[in-house]
């Protein structure tokens, strides 16, 4: 009963969550051991971000530690956070703001391994604030009074866009933020229904293909080398299965390092679980996959999020981070 209650809280708090939306296919298996191998269910979003896990699984980084990953593709954090908290998945992938919102609302989540980080380079990040090629908007400051699409209101992308506007000398409160799925942003921008879009890959590549311009790299404006998302588990699972969590951490760290060093293999593996067309995939900017989260950057994200009123109370990073 308590699990159900906690889960429902998670649902109500996080009906809108992770940085990157949308879903896909996936099998599912309850966690179980056979022949010394533990199968863990990982709730993911089928996007470029999670490529290291697929790659690590293929390379045997998990197998050599007695782990087997079973992927459950889900629709953003709306499904992943409650799925992990209620024990449907052992691990999940979620953006940092969602995890901090959960933590500050007493949803028992524990980040265990790094997910993705921004490249930290302005104009060369995997997520960008974009406008149409012929738009009069030159910088984020010009967005005052304009309509800007983000995938989820009151989440990491809102913090990011506001950070860029503020940094450019504008008033973020003057910007009209509207909610739109990433995959619909290129068409909406092209048709002029929105003035700017905060997009991730591969929608970013599509927008660039159609002549769109980047006016800011909001993730970089929050903090250089920002940890955008992490893999997490429930505090209960972490307490009861410290061995599995430790193995998952090690194997993930190895997978992240491998992915960072082998971008070609990353692009290759992405074609196995997404339908990104080859010409788009070739132009996609990959995120960075450092093995460790960037605590200083996460603190800055928390500070900005708190200033924007996203949290019930200050998230306790000591409890949340590994």
């Amino acid at each position: 009963m308590r699990r159900l209650f906690v889960g429902l809280t998670a649902v109500s708090v996080l009906t809108a969550a992770t940085a990157c939306g949308s879903s896909g296919s996936g099998g599912s298996d309850d966690a179980g051991s056979s022949g010394g191998t533990t199968t863990v269910e990982v709730g993911i979003i089928p996007i470029v971000d999670v490529a290291p896990l697929y790659l690590g699984q293929k390379k045997g980084f998990f197998e050599e530690r007695g782990l087997k990953l079973s992927f459950s593709s889900a629709q953003g954090g709306a499904a992943i956070v409650p799925g992990v908290v209620s024990g449907q998945f052992e691990f999940g992938f979620s953006n940092m703001t969602s995890l901090m919102i959960a933590q500050s609302s007493d949803v028992p989540v524990k980040a265990v391994a790094n997910g993705i980080a921004s490249t930290g380079e302005v104009g060369e990040d995997f997520e960008a604030l974009t406008v149409k090629g012929d738009s009069p908007v030159k910088s984020a400051k010009d967005l005052e009074g304009k309509k800007v699409a983000i995938n989820t209101l009151k989440n990491i992308n809102e913090t990011a866009v506001r950070a860029s506007v503020r940094k450019a000398g504008g008033d973020p409160d003057e910007v009209e933020l509207v909610e739109l799925a990433f995959d619909q942003m290129p068409a909406a921008l092209d048709a002029g229904r929105i003035d700017a879009a905060m997009v991730v890959e591969p929608a970013l590549a599509t927008i660039k293909n159609q002549g769109g311009r980047e006016i800011a790299s909001p993730m970089v404006d929050i903090a250089p080398g920002l940890t955008v998302a992490m893999y997490f588990t429930s505090t209960r699972y972490a307490q009861e299965n410290p061995e599995v969590v430790k193995k998952f951490q090690e194997a993930t760290a190895e997978s992240l390092a491998y992915a960072d060093a082998h971008p070609d293999e990353v692009r290759e593996i992405v074609t196995t679980y997404t339908k990104i067309p080859a010409d788009v995939l070739a132009k996609v900017t990959l995120p960075k996959w450092p093995a460790e989260p960037n605590r200083a950057a996460i603190e800055e994200l928390a500070r900005l999020g708190e200033a924007d009123g996203l949290f019930k109370r200050t998230p306790d990073l000591d409890k949340l981070l590994p």
Partner: protein, 257 residues
């Protein structure tokens, strides 16, 4: 008569497809985001050649069929039970009217919480949505029983079961079949929606992957498959209905399809 109707139907579909080809080619909408029919057909060809597509189709049909069977079974049993026991009917009337309008998709967080992204989550939504279609029709059908026939059966000493079998059921069956036909369509919509939103394996999940991947023609190809599936299911449900009600005047007196 039926041949002429089928020809008209085919002509209508052909006109629609031609419109789908012309609109993007004339530049009325952006081709990138609404590809012409021929490109969608090409993407459909690629999909059909992919084994994973058939697995997804199988997953969707499994969710649909199981969900529909559960909903129809439960709807009929509960409906007849409520009508046979008048107190139950009175006690549940307002509860049914309260639960019925709740959109099934609003229960997605609950489904995920209970069953994750498994088939069971899909079933929860499918059964919830289609159960009411059947139940309400059963209730109406049972209400339609001729009181004189019912009293006659009673005075001839027929027991409860015999009255259900010979008086109630033949009257209710046309309503039930309507309920099943409606439920079949609703079940398909909900199965695909659940996969699309939750990520449970199936056609819906494949559509979602195509969406996030910016694979627009593939996305429309899969949507077309969903439409075709709906068409087939409707045709199938109508033919089942005609067979089951071959004795009924609504079918016997029917002139057109």
């Amino acid at each position: 008569m039926r041949g002429a109707n089928a020809a008209l139907g085919a002509a209508g579909l052909a006109a629609f497809l031609a419109l789908g080809e012309a609109v993007p080619r004339l530049g009325l909408v952006e081709r990138e985001y609404f590809p012409p029919t021929s490109r969608i057909a090409g993407a459909l060809g690629t999909e059909v050649a992919d084994g994973a597509f058939w697995t997804a189709l199988g997953d969707t049909l499994t969710g649909w069929a199981l969900g529909l069977a559960l909903a129809v079974g439960a709807g009929i049993v509960v409906g007849v039970l409520l009508c046979v026991v008048p107190y139950l009917r009175a006690a549940t009337a307002s509860t049914i009217e309260f639960l019925r309008p709740i959109p099934s998709v609003a229960l997605i967080p609950l489904a995920v919480l209970l069953y994750g992204t498994e088939l069971k989550s899909v079933l929860l939504l499918v059964v919830y949505a289609s159960f009411w279609q059947v139940l309400i029709q059963v209730l109406y059908g049972v209400q339609d029983v001729d009181p004189v026939a019912e009293e006659t059966a009673r005075s001839y000493g027929l027991g409860t079961w015999a009255r259900v079998r010979h008086v109630l059921w033949p009257t209710a069956l046309p309503y039930v079949m309507t309920g099943v036909r409606l439920a079949a369509a609703v079940a398909l919509i909900l199965a695909i929606t659940a996969e699309l939103v939750i990520g449970a394996p199936g056609l819906g999940a494949r559509i979602a992957v195509a969406q996030t991947s910016q694979a627009v023609p593939e996305m429309y190809a899969l949507i077309v498959v969903a439409g075709l599936l709906g068409l087939l299911i409707n045709v199938g449900a109508r033919s089942v209905e005609r067979r089951a009600l071959a004795w009924h005047q609504s079918v016997r007196g029917e002139v057109t399809v």
